[in-house]
């Protein structure tokens, strides 16, 4: 698949109870800026908004989100689900707005493109040349297993669920240690096309580092995470 494709979910959008742990903050992840879908990218002395390269599928996705919520943030899961966190009286709930397939290509303000599925000639332990706040936040354990923990609100507080995204993986473990010498486990992000990154602190600045990739077919899925509405 070489182009981004989008298939909307039928409405009312089903609730999503599965993994959802994007980066916190008001300028993280994929979100709308002047009605364009993209992500903020921090550089040492600047901040840029990289938009998802225009196409009919991207316009279809954007129009869906803008029509229902007038913007906000979305999360692309590596298994192809697109998740929208709800606001106002439904804060804490999430819905599936559709499914995507293919690479997400970002366009920088200078016109250069960045393909999130093929991020260039990088090897695990190298600096990640793409956006550093998109993706699902996970924990890479000291055996290389990838764990995701997320919360859902309940009437009495919340439910905290944990899932093993992928079992112990020595390659991921050694890549993490190359990216963050001295750390054996820590927070990572699994980006839309399955690449895994982590942040390394260097002189007060968080630098994104590349760890490796997870195949979408290994992504865990449970039907009980999808709650259909009538």
């Amino acid at each position: 698949m070489t182009t981004f494709q989008f298939e909307p979910e039928s409405t009312p959008y089903p609730y999503w109870l599965g993994p959802f742990s994007p980066a916190r903050g008001t300028s993280t992840g994929f979100r709308f800026h002047y009605r364009k879908l993209g992500t903020w990218v921090n550089a040492p002395n600047s901040r840029e908004f990289w938009v998802i390269k225009d196409s009919s599928a991207v316009r279809k996705l954007s129009n869906n989100i803008l029509h229902h919520w007038n913007g906000g943030r979305i999360l692309f899961l590596p298994n192809g689900l697109i998740i929208k966190p709800l606001q106002d009286y439904e804060v804490g709930k999430r819905v599936i707005v559709g499914r995507f397939n293919g690479p997400i290509t970002l366009q920088k303000p200078n016109g250069q493109l960045f393909d999130m599925s093929v991020p260039g000639r990088i090897t695990p332990g190298d600096m990640w040349p793409g956006p550093n706040t998109t993706g699902l936040e996970c924990i890479l354990k000291d055996n290389g297993a990838l764990i995701c923990i997320w919360q859902r609100p309940t009437n009495e507080g919340s439910e905290i669920e944990e899932v093993v995204i992928q079992g112990p993986d020595p390659q991921l473990r050694s890549a993490f240690q190359r990216a963050r010498p001295g750390d054996s486990a820590g927070r990572v992000r699994v980006t839309a096309n399955g690449h895994i990154i982590t942040n390394r602190e260097e002189r007060g600045y968080w630098r994104p580092m590349y760890i490796g990739q997870i195949s979408p077919k290994n992504w865990p899925h449970r039907e009980i995470w999808i709650q259909r509405r009538k």
């Binding site: 009495e156 507080g157 439910e159 905290i160 944990e162 899932v163």
Partner: protein, 247 residues
């Protein structure tokens, strides 16, 4: 005996070894004991008086579930007796499952060097402890957390299904916040104040025992280790509801 039922309330899980009671075989007789910080060391103290029925109920839970008799148990502020039973790691990420073993019917008291010790908030001479006083008695209790900011109290515990009997929901934790239960801000404020007065707004863990007494660890005055400070009593009108027990 009926098959033991998983306890629907708070499972204490990772607490200090001083925060639990245990049943131990002493000179061939099962006794309720508590680990007590005595001067430089720790000592097991045996409970005073009769507790044969309680021991029998706890051991029954263990033997029904094919475990060895004896070991730890807890009593919470509802006087529910809760018995942890270890499970094989592959069956659950939770190290133990907690079962209900009835109610604590009579208070537990101990003697140390000729002085009677109680888990009530009283000093060895019988005068009441005041909030801010050092907790002098044994420390079994159930862990709660004063949230950062000091505005709420919560606990986390493995989530169970709504079935009867309940089952553990794998990889799922339930977080229960007093502010979500009570809804009324002044009730929440009343509940948190005794703990906030001691812990401040940083929050942190505190324990509640079978008498509803709250105590919390703080750095010792001499800089060595921890002191436990009495915070006050829970207000039962501004507290978590009693978990459902039985069928």
């Amino acid at each position: 005996m009926n098959k033991p039922v998983l306890y629907r309330g708070l499972w204490p899980q990772n607490v200090s070894k001083l925060a639990k009671y245990s049943i131990r075989l002493i000179e061939g007789i099962w006794k309720i004991t508590v680990l007590y910080e005595a001067g430089e060391g720790l000592r097991y103290l045996a409970v005073e008086g009769g507790s044969a029925d309680l021991i029998h109920r706890i051991n029954n839970v263990k033997t029904t579930l094919r475990q060895q008799q004896g070991g730890a148990f807890y009593v919470n502020e509802f006087r529910h007796v809760i018995v942890p039973v270890s499970v094989e790691a592959e069956k659950s990420v939770v190290g133990s499952h907690y079962y209900f073993a009835g109610l604590l019917e009579s208070d537990l008291s101990f003697t140390f060097e000729g002085v009677s010790l109680s888990t009530k908030p009283i000093k060895p001479d019988g005068t009441p402890l005041l909030p801010g006083d050092r907790w002098v008695g044994p420390r079994p209790g159930i862990p709660y957390v004063l949230a950062a900011g000091g505005g709420d109290i919560y606990f986390t515990t493995p989530a169970l299904t709504d079935d009867n009997p309940p089952q553990v929901r794998p990889m799922m934790t339930r977080k229960v916040q007093l502010s979500k239960i009570l809804k009324n801000n002044s009730d929440v404020e009343r509940a948190v104040r005794p703990v906030t007065n001691i812990r401040g707004h940083l929050g942190g863990r505190f324990y509640v025992n079978e008498h509803g007494a709250m105590f919390t660890p703080v750095s010792a005055d001499d800089g060595n280790g921890l002191d436990y400070i009495y915070c006050g009593q829970i207000d039962r009108n501004a507290w978590f509801p009693e978990p459902k027990v039985g069928e």
